[in-house]
Symmetry: none
Subunit: 197 residues, 4 copies
DNA sequence: TATGAATGAGCATTCATTCAT
DNA sequence: AATGAATGAATGCTCATTCAT
């Protein structure tokens, strides 16, 4: 009788291991065997669960993207502008998980340059994020938290821009960008861009 | 006497070829022979001018960094806030050269994750950029172009954040981010962050 | 379960193949692919069993050294001076295996010149050989086969010197040094150096 | 008017530089450019004086061989057995020059394994050395310095064997083989092999 | 399912050799 | 004669992928 294995769970574990390794040593240093070791498996096993290395890396990207989307959906219940800013800052490299995820995210910026398919996937994530933020802003405008003169789409792009800009900066220079400084800079930038009425 | 060769110029040419190739196909797809062909040389010649592939890639990074620093120094003569914003937008992927340079810049974000030495080099560039922008802001404050209540260092970080955020976004989704949109978004974000008195 | 492979045995086989190739075409002409072909494997497989080419060559050296040490230990049961000389001559290039091993041994003389680590390894083998021979000589002195006035260590060095000298000579000029001539010369030299009481 | 250059002298200088480099870093680590630097020349210059790398290496071998032959011819005037042994020991690695020459000599042992042409050249040197020693022994026999029962050719081989054996050993383990020990061991071995009447 | 041995294409790197000046 | 830039073949090494067990 074969071992009963939760196929989906194992796939998830391996993708998580890939995120760990990529975040630790960089995507260009990440070999299949490194991921295998991290997942307490072998390269052969990874082949069972993923078409190939590209598919594995894509799953790793999806893993970090889903976390960001999850945080965004959570903040969609926010009824307050400053809460929105606070929640948004949780997607930044403010804790170990965030730092690791951002290093993985960065890795795919580079890959997307030479890989149109990856670029499309990346853009799909951004679209979803933008629509989500835009919707939250419209909700907050209706409840009088954000000035009606703000264009929700443009403001959503502003939020994404600030998040990306700070995420990149803090990921490359974590020593000079502790959580507090990241949050402070984010607030300082987003408050004027999301003015109260 | 051997052929008279300007060693420095040849090195520069090869680095420029590397920027071209990296910007075109991505750093992970860039082979030495691709750069050689672009530079109308051979891999052996590249070895003649660079210690190895890493040294070549570093020279490519420096090539794009120097262009950004050059633009920044040029804008240091600006006597007007909106001119500063306009000049800053020239560092973004608003033309072919800018697009190519940004794709190269992105490539090194990823590499720096797994390469502390590269991270240090990257941070040194950022330091120089930040000091430059901070100085320009202080000058503009003295001439009454920017409100004195603005903290020059924090504002410099804001400018960098916006530039990085938009640079990343536009590089990954150039179709949705034409030059005009980039400039508009940049202005919309930086004007509230660099208020006139 | 994967193919059942005796990792140690496979390593040994590959090292043996390396000895064959080095002995045949010389260490400077020996490419990884030559050894791979001889071992009915590929270069990738060799990497699987050895850290790199240097490790493989070292294993080849050890292979021939172990054979010499084995012969020496066998002769430690000798109860007769002339038997000792006969057994010692078996380590010389008197048969195909011996010729091949000596060509490999020679290869490492050269390498040790520019590689201190290799020199140390070489010297360790010589130490072991010298101690072994010295011990045999002391035993033969006690049983009245060799004159007590002989200094065992100096005599051991003499045996090694004669073996090395003849090994080198015969390896470079096998046509003029058939087995019989080697043995005759060895006897002629060692008998006066290991006089009976 | 071209620079007046003593072609022969320059060739000799370059060969000497090659001996230096080979003796220092080993023949397998010796690149043309290393020899060029040592000779204060360029690789292009070396090509002017030698057909190619092989010809240069051969010239280096000849350089050390000629020194040995020169020492041998000098000792042909010896009228005393122990003087012969003393002079012979001068060919061993007893001083810096001897050590360097022996490391070069060793390098060619290995090369000759995979290069029949080189083996022939090596053997020609050995023939000349053997004939020379044999002649000296015959002279010493006539003058009553060496017992007539000694076979001159076999004794010459013995001398060569001892020299080679000690040369190899001392070259690989110079720390344990100071000049004094080399000479002592040589005397201890050659006196019984070249007995007085 | 899982293993890990084996494969082999791909690539950076080394370096002797060539040759224009 | 001398230089050294350029070439390009040679080769060790990496690592994703395959597959027999």
């Amino acid at each position: 009788m074969p071992k009963i294995i939760d196929h989906k769970a194992r796939r998830h574990d391996i993708a998580k291991a890939a995120v760990s390794v990529i975040g630790e040593i960089g995507i260009e240093n990440t070999r299949l065997i490194d991921v295998a070791r991290e997942a307490k498996a072998t390269t052969g096993t990874i082949t069972h669960y993923f078409e190939g290395k590209d598919a594995l890396l894509l799953a790793a990207l999806d893993h970090v993207a889903q976390r960001i989307l999850r945080l965004m959906h959570k903040s969609s219940t926010t009824r307050n502008r400053d809460d929105l800013i606070d929640t948004a800052s949780l997607t930044l490299p403010v804790d170990d998980e965030g730092k690791r995820d951002w290093r993985v995210w960065l890795a795919f910026f580079s890959r997307a340059v030479g890989d149109p398919a990856l670029a499309r996937i990346n853009n799909a994530y951004y679209d979803e994020i933008k629509q989500g933020i835009s919707k939250i802003i419209r909700t907050l405008q209706k409840s009088g938290e954000i000035c009606m003169s703000v264009d929700p789409d443009e403001a959503a792009d502003s939020v994404i821009t600030v998040a990306d800009g700070l995420g990149v900066r803090a990921s490359l220079d974590p020593e000079n960008w502790p959580a507090e400084k990241i949050k402070r800079q984010m607030s300082a930038m987003l408050r004027p861009l999301l003015p109260k009425p």
